[in-house]
């Protein structure tokens, strides 16, 4: 007896369907199938005290993290699909055929936390503020200023951005977590967004409390413009300074999430995994570049030879191996894992001065130092007391001693350090991680290398760097853009006298409590920390 092929297929399909149905009945529910559970407080941490809370005017992660859930952007990265830009306060947007005019159509009926209506005037006030040439906006302003010519409110619910040129990174930049929309009436009332009272947004959470050095708290916004969200009653960010304190809090189950800077090092992750079985520990990149900054406006590093000497002396491989316990990409100005083929191939990077085998570099660097300082040189080395920066600084001191530069450490509390660096009150910053606000390759240059870069702490200016970065930003042809970025990376690596020195891209370990649902890490450390769709299972 034979069965026809079609009957066999039908039987097989039926058997598969039965198996799937049975499987679904007996399998435990997955996160996607679970019904979101409202309520609960999410506890996590800030690595330091924010001090000031103006998301437009500051650049430390702690400032953005402390205020993330309070504000909304025109656009943002999708909490469900973190690589995708989706609407937030703008319902939709259109772009002109020449790619130079973007029109955002705003949601209607949105209210600020104080009950005032949200309109296009708020958007205009926000972006006029960050684009003001006299206003120092190291994140949102630094990324938008090169691209945006003007912002106009067409009507109460329509805003138009005129660009200087068709710029590919405009949409990712406008969706950046640093380009949040603030209320015009609040900016008028307080003049800035630094105080806790000025934290009035349209976001899923309201600002509840900020106790300096202790905690930042948000509470649920019951009038959030997306009905049913957020699920959480609130979020608490404990201000935990120093690796041992952070790890102790994690081990004692005081925090549910570690998806922030600084990442855990391998030994810390192993220690946590031994202490807690109710967490998922994972390794990831944090889209952050580890940099050393030299003050090019002050002796001795106003001298190009001495900047070059430091660039040659820094052993990036040792710093990544010891300070990051091997989790990082040494030497790269752009990380191929994050920037794809915009990044110069690593085998080429490895041959650059400062990255190649050290003997030759050390000998050259020594000669450069001896040329100007035959008896060596004594300098003060500044470092913020956060993460394992002090360890990194000690490694750097050890490396600089090999070329006759004797350093003494000057440590700064986190916010005080930023203030000192911003004023140029340093000779050398031993280490400073700079996180990218967008995943576009332009970000790193507008953060650390161009004259107007938000973190150009060394106040270094090189017209060729500015020109190449600008041309790459304007270039719409992908291959040509890639060639421009390669040329820029090659130029920086070969010249070796820039005041911003790339050590490597930081990777590390993170954890989330298994009870935490619908939380997906963002592509940058700044994204997806509003917790608008996150909930806590029983």
């Amino acid at each position: 007896m034979t069965m026809s092929l079609s009957r066999l297929s039908r039987l097989a399909a039926l058997a598969v369907a039965v198996l799937f149905t049975l499987g679904a009945l007996v399998a435990p529910p997955t996160a996607a199938q679970e019904k979101p559970r409202p309520g609960g407080i999410l506890n996590w941490f800030d690595y330091g005290d924010p001090g000031r809370l103006d998301v437009h005017a500051e650049s430390p992660l702690v400032v953005q993290q402390a205020t993330a859930g309070i504000y909304s952007g025109l656009l943002h990265y999708d909490p469900d699909e973190p690589s995708k830009v989706v609407s937030d306060l703008a319902e939709r947007w259109t772009v002109s055929p020449d790619g130079k005019t973007y029109t955002f159509h705003l949601r209607k009926g949105v209210k600020w936390h104080d009950g005032q209506p949200f309109t296009s005037a708020d958007v205009k006030a926000t972006f006029d503020r960050v684009l003001n040439p006299d206003f120092k906006s190291p994140k949102c302003g630094a990324s938008l200023k090169p691209m945006v010519a003007s912002v106009e409110a067409v009507d109460a619910h329509t805003v138009e951005f005129k660009l200087k040129f068709a710029a590919a990174p405009f949409i990712p930049s406008i969706a950046s977590a640093w380009c949040r929309v603030a209320a015009k009436h609040i900016l008028t009332k307080y003049g800035d967004l630094n105080s806790a009272e000025a934290q009035v947004g349209t976001g899923p959470f309201k600002f509840k409390k900020y106790e300096r050095g202790s905690v930042v708290e948000w509470e649920k916004n019951p009038n959030y413009f997306i009905p049913g969200l957020p699920y959480l009653d609130g979020v608490k960010q404990f201000i935990l300074v120093g690796g041992p304190t952070q790890l102790a809090a994690a081990k004692a189950s005081k925090i549910m999430l570690w998806d922030t800077w600084p990442p855990m090092r391998k030994t810390q992750a192993e220690e946590l995994a031994r202490a807690r079985t109710d967490v998922e520990v994972y390794q990831a990149s944090i889209n952050t570049l580890f940099l050393v900054f030299l003050n090019s406006k002050k002796p001795p590093f106003d001298n190009a030879d001495l900047r070059r000497a430091v660039n040659l002396a820094i052993d990036r491989q040792e710093l990544v191996a010891k300070a990051l316990e091997g989790a990082g990409v040494a030497c790269a100005i752009l990380d191929p894992k994050l920037a794809g083929d915009f990044a110069l191939p690593l085998d080429e990077v490895a041959k650059a001065p400062g990255c190649r085998p050290k003997e030759q570099d050390i000998a050259e660097a020594k000669k450069l130092v001896e040329k100007h300082h035959p008896n060596g040189l004594d300098i003060e080395v500044a470092v913020r007391q956060v993460g394992n920066y002090v360890d990194r600084a000690q490694l750097l001191l050890s490396q600089l001693r090999k070329i006759g530069i004797r350093g003494t450490l000057k440590t700064h509390e986190s916010a005080a350090g930023y203030a000192a660096f911003g004023k140029g009150d340093f000779t050398i910053i031993a280490t400073q991680d700079r996180a990218m606000d967008i995943t576009d390759p332009s970000a790193v240059f507008h953060i650390a290398y161009t004259t107007q870069a938000g973190s150009n702490y060394g106040h270094y200016s090189d017209p060729k760097v500015d020109d190449l970065a600008d041309r790459a930003l304007r270039e719409s042809n992908r291959d040509k853009r890639k060639q421009l970025y390669w040329e820029l990376q090659r130029y920086l690596l070969a010249k070796g006298d820039h005041a911003s020195i790339a050590v490597g891209w930081v990777e590390g370990w993170f954890f989330k409590d298994k009870k935490l649902r619908n939380y997906k890490p963002g592509l940058t450390v700044y994204d997806n920390n509003t917790f608008m769709k996150t909930w806590i299972a029983q």
Partner: protein, 279 residues
Amino acid sequence: MRAALARFVIGQPLGAAGALVVLALITVALFAPVLAPHGPKDAAFAPYVAPGREFPMGTDQLGRDLLSRVIWGARLSLYVGVVSVMFGITLGAVWGAVTGYLGGAADTGSQRVVDSLMALPPIILALSLMAALGQSVDNVILALVILLTPTAARTIRSVALGVAATPFIEAAQAAGASRTRVIFRHLIPNCMASYIVLVTTNISYAIVVEASLSFIGAGAPPDEPSWGGMLTAGIQALETAPWMVFFPGLAISLAVFGLNLLGDSIRDLTDPRLRGGLG
């Protein structure tokens, strides 16, 4: 000399043990450049190497030889201890002796200053001073001098009051000796026994305060091989590399133990009520 030494060892065996530890500490501190196999700040090796033949005390999180750091740490601790105590106790002793002898408003006023300084918890005072002065070994010494001076002033003043009431001081005054001569020729030399005891007992105190300040990140700069600073680094890797805490901790304990034993013995020997060991 040999007989006196033998009597000291027999009469004060714990003191002799303390002296031996202190002697070892001084030797290690003086000959640190010769004794340390590697530079204390050279991060030239693999991190977290367990104690073994190559690195008897292991390496730290940056790949520095812990033995070398502990040896150089002895030099730093002893330097901070001795210099701060010599300045602090000497300054306090002169202050206490002079104001105690002069009496009146000078004495009352100075004692109120001493009261206010002593009212502040020492570690809080030291922390505030370090926050104001900035992190450096010299500033640790300055903070310790400010901590030690009032204690010495108070102690030596009480001794000076007793000495000032003795007949030989009255005789010097009757013979027309100036105040300066009486204080520096007769009064202070007769307070020396208490001064020596204060010096020996406070070196260990200064070492502990320096280690405590460095432990909480407010003492010597982080790259200096301070025992307290080494403990801080060790705490961060307690499970991975317990030797990073064990050896600097042992060094602090031994140094303080030795100095305290020696200090107690010297006190016993200089106190007439307890004297008898050396005959």
